[in-house]
């Protein structure tokens, strides 16, 4: 039996999280929610089972989504990540130039809100599939 993938959804807007949870659970994923970057770090530190994918809103206070991704990478806790924002990619590059320079803003790791459920789920599947392939090559997952 294929284990259910666990996805951590980080967004400061509870209705957005609820919508995303609904979509993901409908596809059989296990969903954990965090309302901030700090809460996400806390959850990742406590998680008994690995989190397979992080879905992170970009604009949050006090810690934005890009900073969360960077901090996790610095702690060797890199998790496959899908960033989401109501801003278009070009606007985010303008507002968060460091993230663009760091290569965080790759098109296939970003989805623009509002998104069509199918597009969103396809993107999630793509990233999880890629992460699985990477693991299969023996790259391993930092825990």
């Amino acid at each position: 039996m294929v284990p259910r993938k666990t996805i951590l959804v980080v967004d400061d807007e509870h209705r957005l999280r609820a919508f995303v949870r609904l979509l993901l659970e409908g596809e059989g994923y296990r969903v954990v929610e965090a309302s901030s970057g700090d809460a996400a770090i806390d959850i990742l530190d406590r998680a008994a089972d690995p989190v397979d994918l992080l879905i992170v809103d970009v604009v949050m206070l006090p810690m934005d989504g890009f900073t969360l991704g960077r901090l996790l990478a610095e702690r060797r806790r890199s998790v496959a990540t899908l960033y989401m924002s109501g801003y278009a990619m070009e606007d985010l590059i303008d507002k968060f130039p460091t993230a663009a320079v760091d290569g965080i803003l790759e098109t296939d790791r970003f989805i623009h809100k509002p998104f069509h459920p199918r597009s969103f789920l396809d993107r999630v599947g793509l990233i999880l599939g890629r992460a699985e392939t990477t693991l299969g090559r023996g790259d391993g997952r930092d825990t």
């Binding site: 209705r15 206070l61 507002k95 509002p114 069509h116 459920p117």
Partner: protein, 97 residues
């Protein structure tokens, strides 16, 4: 002579016996403060993805006028109660643009 900062620049190690999470978290404090571009700090406005109403105190959402969000304001996007209900009823958001 170095001036001792209010908090250590390196994470404390006294809880390395497996309960070091909070010390490690301290390491992030400076990063957290620097995360959101400086010009936007305190200027995040929550706006509905569908109707563009702006969230004010509590869960009150209002239309805020066309020029209420200058370039220095960062928008956080969510759903107001009415649009969220509609979203759940239809199963998908309106696609704008």
């Amino acid at each position: 002579m170095d001036v001792t900062p209010d908090r250590p620049s390196q994470p404390r190690r006294e809880h390395d016996d497996g309960d070091h999470r909070w010390d490690a978290a301290d390491e992030f404090d400076d990063n957290r403060r620097a995360s959101v571009p400086e010009q936007f700090i305190g200027e995040v406005v929550v706006i509905c993805l569908e109707c563009r109403r702006v969230k004010s105190a509590g869960d009150d959402w209002r239309h805020d006028g066309q020029n209420a969000h200058p370039g220095s304001t960062l928008l956080s996007h969510g759903y107001c109660p009415g649009c969220f209900d509609a979203l759940l009823a239809t199963g998908q958001p309106e696609q704008k643009g």
